[in-house]
């Protein structure tokens, strides 16, 4: 299977504090990979380094530029006075190749695909957390990504919204999209992921180096 993301010897520090040490990761096409670990263990930090948002030491090889990203929703300012449709248009802020009409078309189709067209004219602060998460999910899918990077996509949402999003993720994965996500739902991880990287791991290999990588059946 083709590898679409490889991370070697990743080290990240905030000032003098080391957040991530000697981390390795690999994501193949169609693979569903979870990053787990305690709060503050560096899960989001790793995702941000892969996306080039923060500085790091080590090697990150992204073999596709078609990446979708869903940040943690609490980082967004939902009081900003724009509608869902206008919010999705901002995803094309740096896009010069896609015409305005094409952008409109892509957004409309994505809203229809996720069955949330009825949200298009609502303002961001009028949405429930589950609805907002679906909008963020729609944005992450706008450029038909080969690799989806999702930071806590299922947190703070109700059960039925979580089930819908889980089904969508599985559907995308079965169609060939590689998925790398941070998540706390261990049941979901066991049932759906091909590989787990646990940042709170205490498993040590024969060279005395922490082994972060688990197969779902190994993970407790």
């Amino acid at each position: 299977m083709a590898v679409i993301l490889e991370v070697h010897n990743l080290n990240i520090s905030y000032g003098k504090k080391k957040i991530v040490e000697n981390f390795h990761l690999k994501v193949e096409k169609s693979q569903f990979v979870a990053l787990t670990g305690r709060n503050g263990s560096g899960k989001s930090t790793i995702l941000k380094s892969i996306l080039g948002i923060i500085k790091f030491q080590g090697h990150i090889h992204l073999k596709t530029d078609k990446i979708g990203y869903l940040p943690q929703s609490y980082l967004l300012d939902r009081s900003f006075p724009i509608t869902v449709f206008e919010f999705l248009q901002l995803a094309f802020a740096k896009e010069k190749k896609v015409s305005y009409e094409q952008q409109q078309k892509e957004i409309t189709q994505m809203l229809e695909k996720l069955k949330i067209s009825f949200l298009a004219k609502l303002f961001l602060n009028e949405l429930s957390q589950g609805q907002f998460q679906k909008v963020l999910f729609a944005r992450s899918l706008l450029n038909s990504p080969e690799l989806l990077i999702l930071d806590e996509p299922l947190s703070n949402i109700d059960e039925s919204s979580a089930v819908e999003l889980k089904n969508l993720l599985n559907d995308l994965n079965h169609k060939g999209t590689g998925i790398l996500l941070t998540i706390h739902d261990s049941q979901f991880v066991k049932e759906n992921c091909n590989m787990i990287y646990n940042l709170s791991s205490d498993k040590v290999d024969e060279n005395g180096i922490i082994d972060f990588c688990f197969h779902p059946k190994e993970e407790n």
């Binding site: 996306l51 948002i53 967004l76 300012d77 006075p81 206008e86 919010f87 995803a91 740096k94």
Partner: protein
């Protein structure tokens, strides 16, 4: 009422229409994320530059433009440096700059013993507006608005979702600096209408009123332009009738409209609920 058809009234109103078109889009964004103190610091930073320009060039449009630009750009660089390199919070830095620059401007004017009514410099005088300033306003409107609309999407994304804007590799510092430079230009252009002390009034007051009318940002910009023109018309009219300074007249009109709209919307909400 024949003064409505007089040249002075018409020129004053025309310059306010240009300022309304320029100030409203910037004002709506400036008030969205509590950035209005930034605008305040920039507007007060213009005073020393304009006072020095007055010493060297007299009451000259080009002099005011250059003096304001030099003073404003120095302050933008200083604010950037202090906010990145020191532990102080942005609002503390802005308040300090605001106070120091206002004082410096007043001292320069006092020491230089310029024979000018300080009121003109601080609060503007639309009736002194030279025709070349109107040409400059028209030209700058054609220049500033396209630049603003070219960064608008990036600026919105930075404000609503900074993390995603970094993912898209949008240069946050560059976009914000362009925005603040546009604010600086428009504040300089507001000089004749409302002076350095009230320059921010054209941006902030109509934007605040527009928020009471509409939730949507595009609608807020359109409403803000309309309100800005209405408050200018009332302000100039009142200043002609009662012989009061035009700048404060315009700002007071804006304040009056704000209170009326606030009362109306509160009463309307009470009735509907």
């Amino acid at each position: 009422m024949e003064f409505i058809f007089n040249d002075l009234f018409f020129l004053a109103l025309l310059s306010c229409i240009f300022l309304s078109l320029l100030s409203s889009p910037l004002g709506v964004f400036l008030t969205l994320k509590k950035m209005s103190l930034m605008g305040d610091a920039i507007s007060h930073s213009l005073l020393p530059g304009m006072a020095i320009a007055l010493i060297f060039f007299g009451f000259s449009s080009i002099g005011f433009l250059i003096g304001g630009l030099i003073s404003g750009v120095i302050i933008l660089i200083l604010m950037h440096f202090l906010s990145k390199k020191t532990v102080f919070k942005d609002d503390g830095i802005l308040a300090m700059i605001y106070l120091v620059m206002s004082s410096l401007g007043i001292i320069i004017i006092a020491k230089a013993q310029i024979k000018i009514d300080l009121m003109h410099l601080l609060f503007g005088n639309l009736l002194l507006i030279p025709i070349e300033w109107l040409w400059l306003l028209g030209f700058m409107t054609l220049l500033i608005l396209p630049v603003f609309y070219s960064i608008r999407k990036s600026l919105s994304l930075i404000l609503v979702d900074p993390e995603y804007s970094r993912f898209l590799k949008i240069n946050e510092t560059k976009v914000k600096n362009i925005f603040y430079f546009l604010v600086l230009l428009v504040l300089i252009l507001s000089f004749y209408a409302v002076g350095t002390m009230l320059a921010l009034g054209f941006m902030v007051i109509p934007a605040m009123i527009a928020k009471l009318f509409s939730k949507n940002i595009n609608q807020q910009i359109k409403t803000s332009i309309l309100i800005s023109i209405v408050m200018s018309f009332i302000g100039i009219l009142v200043s002609f009738i009662y012989n009061i300074p035009t700048g404060p007249g315009i700002i007071i009109s804006g304040g009056g409209i704000f209170i009326l709209v606030l009362i109306f919307s509160t009463v309307k909400d009470q009735i509907l609920n």
